[in-house]
């Protein structure tokens, strides 16, 4: 039996039994883990209020190494965020939770991802952040997790992407020029505007994500490309993306 003491981000919680919570934590030092917090749903519990998505906590939990489920021992908040002050913020938060859920394997230590998450949460707390932050965060998360789509030239022939009728192929993991469509599996049209935005997200400071102007069509298109890329390459549906349009 070992005791683990690390800073963590709350990724998600699921009700368990009468009063417990099954908590998914993205820990700084041990990657993503699941732990049971006994009695956490009782209002007077010492955990009360703390297992809210994206709160950053100092956590102490224990369990056997390589076991799948740990037990919470204690927590102590690092900083309390309020992300529930607007709908945009909340749906961006849901997207960030889902990126962490999908892009981090259980027990995989990923410090760059952890830092990205902290930065994203900090931004979410600091102002009225909307869909742009969610989309940028998803792209950066994919990049850090090693699933970055290929965007700088045609993934098949290496040719220039300046022409029209570009396509995005989730199975090839990138953009195709119109000469390379045969045998590329399912592919979707991608506009130059969307491609430019996707490229920009990768080099961009998250802070500046809100400065890029995205119209509704471009938002939807970008959301769709990211959704399909994640669905094919990670085998997961990023369900929260469509909520950005609510």
């Amino acid at each position: 039996m070992a005791l683990y003491d690390t800073e963590s981000i709350v990724v998600n919680t699921i009700d368990l039994g009468e009063a417990d919570l099954l908590v998914t934590l993205f820990t700084r030092e041990y990657g993503k883990i699941k732990a049971v917090a006994r009695g956490a749903r009782i209002l007077k519990s010492r955990y009360s209020g703390f297992f809210q998505p994206l709160l950053v906590l100092n956590t102490l939990y224990f369990g056997n190494e390589r076991q799948e489920l740990y037990r919470m021992a204690s927590i102590d908040p690092v900083k309390v965020y309020d992300i529930s002050s607007s709908m945009d913020k909340m749906f961006t938060a849901f997207c960030m939770m889902e990126v962490l859920e999908h892009c981090c394997g259980p027990g995989e230590i990923n410090l760059p991802m952890y830092r990205l998450a902290l930065e994203g949460i900090e931004l979410l707390d600091s102002g009225d952040q909307g869909p742009n932050l969610a989309l940028c965060f998803a792209m950066r998360g994919l990049s850090v997790a090693g699933y970055m789509p290929h965007l700088k030239d045609c993934i098949a022939c290496g040719g220039d992407l300046s022409g029209d009728k570009l396509r995005f192929s989730p199975s090839r993991g990138g953009v195709l020029c119109n000469r390379c469509l045969s045998g590329a599996g399912e592919h979707f049209p991608i506009s130059m505007g969307c491609l430019k935005f996707l490229v920009a997200t990768l080099g961009l400071d998250l802070k500046r994500s809100s400065r890029i102007k995205l119209n509704q069509n471009l938002k939807e298109e970008t959301g769709n490309i990211i959704f399909n890329h994640i669905a094919y390459n990670l085998g997961r549906e990023m369900k929260s993306l469509r909520f950005l349009e609510l």
């Binding site: 209002l43 709160l55 709908m87 909340m90 939770m97 929260s240």
Partner: protein
């Protein structure tokens, strides 16, 4: 290894599937049922079947009921101008026990939960919009849970109902009665500052 009689293990297996009932509890309940008089066991199984056959959702408020509209919706002493929106039918009993609320209810049957793919269409939001549109509702009190899902739902309701000109209020989140500031968690404390009221 000696096996249990099949009907007994089937019963244990079934009970084990119920929420909050582990293997040990399932065994204990199954052996208890085995020992009770046949009449009692029959009453239990009939009660289970009757719940399935007779309990429906009220067509107005989605409360659980065996008559439609439900008792609350039919009660002439309740204020039809105030509708309290909650996530689950069970929340009605908590509020009825405590709050001295005399209006009507509307059960959403859940809350927005993007990660589970639960959007507005999966909830009883459209019927609520219709209810408000029909007129007569002056205030909608949003009493969804103080979780991210509950808050997102509250904000979404505000967005779709406010333009209809109805007064929208949210139940306050704050410190537990009899509690002490010193022991309050930061999240609750921060929320109770936001929800402060003029004295």
């Amino acid at each position: 290894m000696v096996k249990r009689p099949k009907p007994l293990s089937v019963l244990i297996e079934r009970l084990n599937k119920l929420p909050g009932i582990g293997e040990r509890s399932a065994q204990r309940i199954a052996y208890h049922i085995l020992k009770t008089p046949e009449k009692d066991a029959e009453k239990l199984s009939r009660a289970i079947m009757e719940v399935k056959e007779k309990v429906i959702h009220c067509s107005l408020c989605y409360n659980l009921t065996d008559q439609d509209p439900c008792q609350l919706c039919q009660d002439p002493s309740r204020d039809k101008g105030t509708v309290c929106v909650i996530e689950e039918p069970g929340d009605i009993y908590s509020i009825e026990k405590a709050a001295g609320f005399k209006g009507l209810y509307h059960v959403l049957m859940g809350a927005l939960s993007p990660l589970d793919g639960i959007g507005p269409e999966q909830l009883r939001i459209e019927p609520l919009v219709e209810r408000v549109k029909e007129g007569g509702v002056k205030e909608v009190i949003v009493a969804t849970n103080p979780t991210l899902s509950g808050e997102a739902t509250a904000m979404y309701l505000l967005k779709v109902l406010k333009p209809l000109g109805v007064k929208m209020t949210r139940i306050a989140h704050g410190l537990p009665v009899g509690g002490n500031l010193e022991f309050a968690d930061e999240v609750t404390l921060a929320r109770s500052f936001q929800g402060r009221q003029e004295l």
